[in-house]
């Protein structure tokens, strides 16, 4: 069966004043299945909005195709496409009350008054705004407007809902609540969501699959765990979560395992297809998988433990409430980040900048990237 949405080789350039054309979409292909929550994640200008607008019919493609259930929709105008959008600025009609805003698509489709009223009430109930129908949209708070926009987009039960940074205008608390509600709503309604954000945390919590975009191209596509723990390349590693990237030369390989040496001389054993003798591999590990020991005795710590052991000097330490964030300068490697629960007590009573420390990263927490750290 054809997937709900399929994008094939979508390419779009924009002419700029006097300069070289900007590539907003660069041969992008993607499929979205039924009842799936797919997030487009990427930095500003990477083409997220352009892709969404191409699907909804407000932007043309230079080449490529967009299909819904196997049928191309490129020749259909925006109003004839079976998708609805929640706009970033909500785009509520200021001259209509909440109920008329929500019922707009039904009104346009000629759904009778009574039926319309029933479905509008139902949609408002669903977004937690039951009884708000008669209010003017101008009197609503940002969060309420956001819910009205959502209700308006789902009232006609589209198969596919496009959301362009719908939560970016909300404050932190409200945003977190709406994230949960959106996810529940998506699941409950069985509508597929294509959700745009440049907030990686939002993407990680909500999505079934994440599409990391940069320069109009897909950098990685996969479930949140893959994106976070097994990024394909340095861009994804840097963009999603905090990361330490270290270059290591692969010395030899025997069976599944290879021996690597990082700048500064430390060696470690790693397994995996990407460990090929003779190449420089890029190792990724997250700050929270680094353990830190302090004191001069630690400087030459157990070299036998499986993983990467390094010695360095603490340059910065800050307390975030639940954790300490440390920055450690390792000679030959550069500054590395570590997040630890407790600071190991040294003779002086705490870790102070300038003190020598020993780091250890277990092998299991080290991920080898494809390609160099761009």
């Amino acid at each position: 069966m054809a997937p709900l949405l399929e994008i094939r080789n979508a390419t779009r350039h924009f002419a700029t004043q006097g300069g070289a054309p900007v590539t907003a979409l660069d041969g992008l292909s993607l499929t979205v299945a039924d009842n799936e929550f797919v997030t487009l994640l990427g930095p500003s200008g990477c083409g997220k909005t352009t892709l969404l607008r191409a699907i909804s019919g407000f932007e043309d493609l230079d080449s490529g195709d967009i299909l819904i259930e196997g049928t191309s929709i490129l020749d259909r105008p925006a109003h004839a496409r079976p998708v609805n959008t929640v706009f970033q600025n909500y785009a509520l009609f200021p001259h209509m009350n909440v109920a008329r805003n929500v019922g707009y698509s039904l009104e346009v489709a000629g759904v009778s008054g009574a039926e319309r009223a029933r479905r509008v009430a139902e949609a408002l109930e669903l977004v937690g705004l039951g009884g708000y129908g008669e209010r003017s949209v101008r009197q609503l708070s940002g969060g309420q407007q956001q819910r009205v926009a959502l209700a308006r987009a789902i009232v006609a039960r589209p198969r596919l809902l496009l959301l362009d940074e719908p939560l970016s205008a909300l404050d932190r608390n409200l945003r977190q609540r709406m994230q949960e509600e959106l996810k529940q709503l998506q699941h409950g309604l069985g509508i597929s969501f294509v959700f745009v954000t440049h907030d990686q945390e939002e993407a990680l919590t909500m999505s079934d699959r994440i599409v990391v975009l940069d320069g109009g191209r897909i950098q990685q596509l996969g479930p949140p765990e893959d994106i976070y723990f097994r990024p394909e390349n340095a861009f994804v590693a840097r963009f999603v979560g905090e990361s330490n990237l270290v270059t290591a030369h692969v010395l030899s390989r025997s069976g599944e395992e290879g021996l690597l040496e990082v700048a500064g001389g430390a060696r470690l054993v790693l397994s995996g297809d990407r460990v090929v003798p003779g190449i420089d591999a890029t190792l990724l590990f997250r700050p929270e998988s680094v353990s830190v020991a302090s004191g001069p005795e630690a400087a030459a710590s157990e070299p036998g433990a499986a993983g990467l052991s390094l010695a360095g000097r603490l340059t910065q330490s800050s307390f975030t409430g639940s954790d300490y964030r440390l920055e450690i300068d390792v000679p030959g490697v550069g500054p590395l980040k570590a997040t630890v629960r407790h600071l190991a007590q040294s003779s002086s009573g705490g870790l102070a900048p300038g003190e020598p420390v020993a780091l250890h990263v277990p092998s299991a927490a080290i991920h080898v990237l494809a390609g160099p750290p761009a």
Binding site: S56, G57, F58, P77, A78, H79, A80, V83, N84, T85, F87, N89, A91, L92, F93, P94, H95, Y104, S105, E107, V108, A109, R152, A153, A156
Partner: protein, 273 residues
């Protein structure tokens, strides 16, 4: 020191408004003055001048004998209304469409086109009047209501364009996209979203066009024919034979009419907020 300045400011303000409104106030007062010979001298209250212009006989008419024929006056009023209403309709439709097109579409020479739409506003009336006269004559068109209407439309379309454009500039374009996204085609979107939102601008532009058309003397003077005299042209003709009391009554009625139209405009603007 500060209080003194405020005092000066108040005096200045009063003087300023007196300067603007005193002449108008005098016209209204004189329109009720019974003295038929010298309206500067008050000789009692009368409504005779109003009776005269509306065609009722009055005691003082013998003395004034000014409006030779009320028919002429009424015909001028009728001509003015026909011209103003037709012009308003045509220039509102044209001006609004052009404003929508300029706001929506990207095309070459757009800035130039916009400038062209502004030009008739700063063009001296007398130049426009002469140009239109030469145009009509060289095309062999007889001067009459039609030529006046065409002439008025040429510059009033610009006024409507500018008022509606201002309103469109403040309108969020994503609303039209939202409407299309929810399944409305172009025409339905225009009817249900665009038009209601720009309506205050459209009505404002229409009222402006109506008032200017009713009021225009210079351009109309050039392009009106013998029996297509409008009210301003008719009054101008009367004045050349001396200022007589009926003129005050006509002016007062016109003033009242303008106030009504303007309040209507303000009402719609307030509702559009």
């Amino acid at each position: 020191m500060f209080r003194k300045r405020i005092g000066l400011l108040a005096v200045y303000g009063i003087a300023f408004f007196a300067f603007i409104y005193a002449p108008i106030f005098l016209v209204v007062v004189y329109s009720f003055n019974a003295n038929p010979v010298n309206m500067m001298i008050w000789s009692g209250f009368t409504l005779d001048w109003y009776r005269t212009i509306f065609g009722f006989s009055a005691a003082t008419t013998e003395l004034s004998l000014y409006v030779e024929s009320t028919d002429q006056l009424l015909r001028a009023v009728r001509n003015s209304l026909i011209v103003a209403l037709t012009t308003t309709l045509v220039s509102t439709v044209l001006g609004t469409s052009v404003a929508l097109a300029v706001a929506r579409f990207r095309f070459r020479l757009k800035a130039f086109y916009r400038a062209l739409m502004f030009l008739p506003m700063i063009m001296p009336d007398i130049v426009l009047g002469i140009a239109l006269l030469i145009f009509f004559v060289s095309f062999g068109m007889s001067l009459g209501l039609v030529s006046i209407i065409i002439g008025h439309c040429t510059f009033l379309t610009s006024y409507v364009f500018i008022v509606v454009s201002a309103r469109l500039a403040g309108m969020d374009m994503s609303l039209e996209e939202a409407s299309a996204d929810l399944g409305a085609n172009g025409w339905v979107t225009f009817r249900k979203v665009t038009l209601p939102l720009i309506l205050p601008g459209v009505i404002g532009g229409a009222l402006l066009a109506f008032i200017i058309s009713m009021d225009d003397l210079v351009i109309t003077y050039f392009i009106s024919g013998v029996d297509s005299t409008t009210l301003p042209v008719f009054i101008y003709g009367m004045l050349r034979r001396g200022i007589k009391p009926e003129i005050n009554a006509i002016a007062t009625v016109m003033l009242l009419f303008s106030f009504l139209v303007a309040s209507l405009g303000l009402y719609f603007r307030a509702r559009g907020r």
